[in-house]
């Protein structure tokens, strides 16, 4: 494809295979390279310049973060709070699937119901869930339920909206085709509606996971007694910056792994599509 806009793009060339191998891995190499470079600079910074006494208190390096993280893993101080966070995450996510999936199907099939629910969905989807946290704390205290509700609200909407979209845009033509061969309503759902909706639902799940992780972190920062987020907040107040970063790394890595797995699932299920569904 001719690329007249980006004049610096690697031109098509007919040179030896060694060249094309580099071109294949170049994007990944550059990507990894920049991350590595960033880490290296960060690590080297205290050696390259003298930091003021104030800054030194908050400054940490990747190696210190890594060491702290390792320490936390080995001594077990990571696993317990992580477990609490994971429980809140898991329960909230499962609830959001349990509610979002059937509700999405229902709204997809009934225009009336959809119109009636729409204002509430729009309102809750646009609103930052954090706004409900003080209220939830009044109701549930600092236990696990405030967390679960925040996770639930965050994860519900991608699943609900995507399921609804997937069900609603089942191709009318395909439904007629299948009916013309004598399909019952159940067959129609099985043969057309569900396969059509599946990629949307999985994409919704991928979005929901990201939101759910964010929900756990945010809920634990302000409204919980236990959990990795709580550990991070407490560490921050004690200037244990490397612990904060260690926690951040854990959350980020877990989030990336989970969404990565879902993306793999998505790709497997989408072999019949010309291209993947967007964000």
């Amino acid at each position: 494809m001719t690329d007249t806009l980006r004049t610096d793009a690697p031109a098509e060339s007919l040179t030896a295979p060694a060249r094309s191998l580099w071109r294949q891995i170049e994007p990944a190499a550059l990507g990894m390279g920049s991350i590595v470079l960033l880490l290296v600079i960060w690590e080297a910074l205290p050696h390259l310049m003298t930091l003021g006494a104030g800054t030194k208190m908050y400054f940490t390096t990747p190696s210190r973060v890594g060491a702290t993280l390792w320490n936390m893993m080995v001594t077990g101080t990571l696993w317990e709070p992580l477990g609490v966070s994971a429980a809140g995450f898991g329960i909230g996510l499962l609830l959001s699937i349990a509610v979002g999936l059937p509700l999405g199907v229902l709204l997809g099939r009934s225009r009336t119901l959809n119109a009636m629910f729409d204002p509430f969905i729009t309102a809750f989807n646009a609103t930052p869930r954090l706004v409900f946290l003080p209220l939830l704390m009044l109701w549930f205290g600092l236990g696990v339920w405030s967390k679960v509700v925040i996770v639930f609200i965050g994860a519900l909407f991608p699943i609900l909206i995507n399921t609804y979209e997937g069900v609603r845009n089942a191709d009318r033509l395909l439904i007629n085709v299948v009916r013309s061969f004598g399909a019952s309503e159940w067959d129609v759902a099985r043969l057309v509606v569900v396969p059509n909706a599946l990629p949307y639902i999985i994409a919704g799940l991928r979005l929901a996971i990201g939101r759910a992780v964010l929900g756990v972190v945010v809920a634990e920062f302000f409204g919980a007694e236990q959990g990795l987020g709580v550990v991070m907040v407490q560490a921050a107040s004690r200037y244990q910056v490397d612990v904060v970063f260690a926690g951040l790394v854990v959350f980020a890595v877990l989030s990336l792994i989970m969404t990565g797995l879902v993306r793999l699932l998505e790709d497997r299920l989408s072999r019949w599509r010309p291209q993947r569904l967007g964000e």
């Binding site: 990507g31 990894m32 119109a115 204002p119 003080p134 209220l135």
Partner: protein, 271 residues
């Protein structure tokens, strides 16, 4: 699909739909909202009402009027709005610039994309305690938090927008004698603009989270702080009132941008 109607000899009738039929969805939506509040109010006719635990629409409305009348609501909103706008504007400028550079110079895009993805996936909210400790409680910390939370939608969307510019259109304008400036004004900006506005829609939501995070952490004013304070005071009516105000603002901003997108860029069906 065919209805059993008596045979008529007329040809097609002129379309005549009642007001109700044409605005069906809107009316259904309004009806369900009204029903919801009515039910909320009415449920306390049978269920005992504990004002320390929950509130009712009439009390909430009264609380809201109170806050408006005393000026407290607008004061708090004004305080929250300042870092919101500063942070969002900074995020727009930096994010779009970065995204455009990434899209324009391919290798820069390759290099930074994974980095940006990692940042986007990390709960950067987690850094807010550090930011507050570093910068202290105040405008700077709040602005920075909002900036970090809302910059990435702009980066990614601008990036995608530049990459999506149709090379064919560039050729068309060039073939008609267009100069560089024409390319920018007639092709690139109109192509990228819808993506940036869509990014703004997402960024606004995240900026609102930033406002609340900043204010929950350690603030003495602002709408988020007000909610927390009313919670501490068990003034549930005013607390609900503030929550509803934020919901309305959030919806107004998001739907407003969505509406502007549809009006300004009707050729963009999805996203």
């Amino acid at each position: 699909m065919a209805q059993n109607v008596a045979q008529d000899t007329a040809t097609d009738d002129a379309p005549h739909q009642s007001f109700a039929a044409r605005h069906r969805n809107l009316l259904l939506g309004l009806t369900s909202v009204v029903l919801f509040f009515a039910a909320w109010q009415a449920v306390f006719l049978v269920v005992p009402f504990n004002k320390l635990f929950i509130s009712k629409p009439d009390l909430i409305a009264a609380g809201l009027f109170d806050l408006i009348r005393s000026g407290a609501l607008f004061r708090d909103l004004a305080v929250s709005a300042v870092p919101f706008f500063y942070g969002l504007v900074a995020a727009t400028v930096v994010g779009v610039a970065l995204g455009v550079v990434m899209g324009w110079r391919t290798r820069v895009g390759w290099a930074l994309d994974p980095l940006m993805t990692v940042f986007y996936a990390s709960p950067l909210v987690a850094l807010s305690p550090l930011i507050v400790i570093f910068l202290g409680v105040g405008l700077a910390a709040k602005t920075l938090i909002i900036f970090f939370l809302s910059v990435f939608p702009f980066v990614f969307n601008a990036y995608a927008g530049v990459r999506a510019v149709d090379p064919l259109l560039i050729n068309v304008v060039r073939s008609l004698g267009g100069r560089e400036i024409d390319l920018y004004l007639k092709v690139i900006v109109p192509s990228v603009l819808p993506y940036v506005v869509a990014g703004a829609r997402i960024a606004v939501g995240r900026a609102l989270i930033g406002v609340l995070v900043g204010e929950f952490f350690a603030a003495s004013e602002g709408i988020g702080y007000a909610i927390a304070r009313f919670g501490d005071l068990f003034a549930l009516d005013k607390m609900f009132a503030c929550i509803i105000v934020i919901m309305v603002i959030a919806v107004a901003l998001t739907e407003g941008i969505r509406w502007a997108e549809r009006a300004a860029f009707p050729w963009r069906a999805g996203q």
